[in-house]
């Protein structure tokens, strides 16, 4: 690894339907929050990284121009990154690389989205090229429903068992969101509520699916010198990994999912992790859909292939379990896409520094944050720890 880098502060907006503010003002909320948290201000920052979903999401092209004022970026170098759902993770990686390279000591990283201002499914369909794919892929739920079904068929997972496990994930995460002051959806659900909710794309039902959210997240990456100078609790970057599949959805195996497994291995190798389920204390998995969360447990080595449902039903990944996943409520409860993967990073940083408040996992010291993007095309991870 290059020189040591830590996250020294995070800021989030209250995520949800934010019709009462303009997009740049909402972004500024997250930026003001991280400055308040760290005692820093724009003049201290060496560079800014920002990103969102493609311009078509909110109808203003190239949002990094639009947000320059709100980011305090006037007069500073800025980098923009967009990788669909993995945007937040790509942003975190970019911020990390900038500081790790020695070219900057303090980098502000901001992801955001204002999904209520556009049509998210219509926009996401533009990720599909119009020659072969666009008429058939019906936004995110359709893609993941195909993937979920292939997974169940490959390992002969009985449908009832997967339905029960997916429902438990939904119930657990929606309950956990109540302890997260920034989370969007806060409801109380029973297993029956989830299992009987409206079908979106079979087997995925309404309560298996993430919301559209407005929101922004800001994170400050710092060099070791800067981190040690300030009396804040640093979350050290211990490992990272990023990998992509071919573009064409039919070319890759989305069950023994190469890019997810390779990205995880990269991150684990850097962090020196050989048994993730035992060595990690917490994970914030990018979980827009309950079924896909389980597939990721297997790709990341938390469960044996085909056994994630059993582990879920045993409570392995619940808040009191062996490896709590998404104690923030996860993407299932809050999804401003350009920010979402960065929120995973921010939440993991809060966990390993003991600052997660009501949803803190006791004694968490090593955590994994994850992002998923494209038409199931990219996976990115970052591992954070309390010790250098």
């Amino acid at each position: 690894m290059a020189r040591a880098v830590a996250i020294i502060g995070v800021g989030q907006t209250k995520h949800g339907r934010r019709n009462e503010v303009t997009y740049p003002d909402m972004v500024r909320e997250a930026v003001q929050a991280v400055f308040a948290e760290t005692g820093l201000d724009p003049k201290d920052i060496d560079g800014i990284v920002c990103g969102t979903m493609p311009s078509m999401m909110e109808g203003v092209a190239l949002t990094h121009f639009y947000f320059a004022d709100a980011l305090g970026a006037v007069g500073k170098p800025m980098m923009k990154t967009e990788t669909c759902g993995t945007t937040g993770m790509s942003l975190a990686h970019t911020g990390y690389y900038w500081v790790a390279s020695g070219m900057a000591d303090l980098v502000l990283v901001v992801g955001s989205e204002k999904m209520y201002e556009g049509d998210s499914q219509a926009t996401m369909s533009t990720v599909m090229e119009p020659f072969y794919l666009r008429p058939f892929l019906t936004g995110a739920p359709g893609v993941f429903s195909i993937q979920a079904q292939q997974w169940m068929a490959r390992y002969k997972i009985p449908e009832e068992k997967s339905r029960e496990a997916a429902a438990k994930i939904s119930v657990d995460h929606h309950r956990d969101a109540h302890d997260n002051p920034y989370a969007h959806i806060k409801v109380d659900l029973t297993l029956e509520d989830v299992k009987n909710s409206r079908v979106i794309n079979y087997p995925i039902r309404f309560w298996d699916v993430c919301p559209n959210s407005d929101g922004a997240c800001a994170v400050i990456f710092a060099s070791e010198d800067q981190a040690k100078k300030m009396s804040l609790k640093p979350a050290w970057v211990k490992g990272l990994g990023f990998c992509g599949d071919e573009y064409w959805y039919g070319d890759s195996d989305k069950v023994a999912w190469q890019c997810a497994m390779i990205a995880a291995k990269q991150a684990y190798d850097l962090a020196g992790i050989s048994n993730p389920r035992r060595e990690l204390n917490v994970a914030e998995i990018y979980n827009p859909f309950t079924w896909i969360e389980m597939l990721h447990y297997e790709c990341f080595g938390f469960s044996e292939p085909g056994r994630a449902c059993d582990d879920v039903l045993k409570g392995v990944f619940a808040r009191g379990g062996e490896l709590p996943c998404d104690p923030s409520g996860g993407v299932l409860c809050t999804n401003p896409i350009g920010a979402t993967a960065l929120i995973r990073v921010a939440e993991t940083a809060l966990q390993v520094t003991g600052q997660a408040g009501a949803h803190q996992i006791e004694g968490a010291k090593l955590g994994l944050a994850h992002g998923l993007g494209g038409v199931s095309q990219f996976n990115g991870l970052m591992i954070l720890g309390s010790e250098l």
């Binding site: 219509a122 892929l137 359709g142 195909i146 079904q149 292939q150 079979y202 959805y249 070319d251």
Partner: protein, 158 residues
């Protein structure tokens, strides 16, 4: 002009209509001309020997130009599917419809299109008619335009 959103906040409603004219290039041009003749054309990578369909210019894994062209079977195995009943703005295919993910005989990747010729009135009805592993076969549209929609859909065989 400012109007009020559903929850009473001032908003500006707008629509963006953007037009495109995308180059097909020689490879896809040949593939789509093949559709007009009711042929499904794939091609083989000279290095990894995989047959990819639709035909490609280059192999995405080996990064070399694809080699020989060949006609791929019009029948194959259904390996994934999804019923869509929800509607969103500007959807190219109006619901309800089933997206099908098929490994055509002779191809080394999966092909996506619609699945039709079945009763689409609800998930329980659909599930009784289709399942992963079943054989499906391409049905063509009478009218051909040299687009992917010249294929009407995959229909269950037998």
């Amino acid at each position: 002009m400012v109007t009020l959103s559903r929850d009473g906040k001032p908003v500006i409603k707008a629509e963006a209509l953007v037009t495109y004219e995308l180059a097909l290039g020689p490879t896809w041009n040949r593939f789509f001309e093949g559709l007009k003749e009711e042929k499904i054309l794939g091609n083989r990578c000279p290095r990894c020997r995989r047959v990819l369909v639709p035909a490609r210019t280059f192999c995405p894994r080996c990064f070399v130009d694809m080699g020989e062209w060949l006609e791929v079977a019009q029948e194959g195995e259904l390996v994934g599917w999804s019923l869509t009943e929800i509607e969103y703005f500007g959807m190219p295919t109006p619901p309800p419809f089933v997206t099908a993910f098929v490994t055509l005989d002779g191809a080394d990747c999966k092909f996506m299109h619609l699945l039709g010729g079945i009763d689409l009135s609800g998930i329980d009805v659909v599930r009784k008619q289709i399942w992963n592993g079943m054989r499906v076969k391409i049905v063509w549209n009478e009218e051909k335009n040299g687009t992917i929609m010249d294929i009407k859909y995959f229909a269950p065989v037998g």
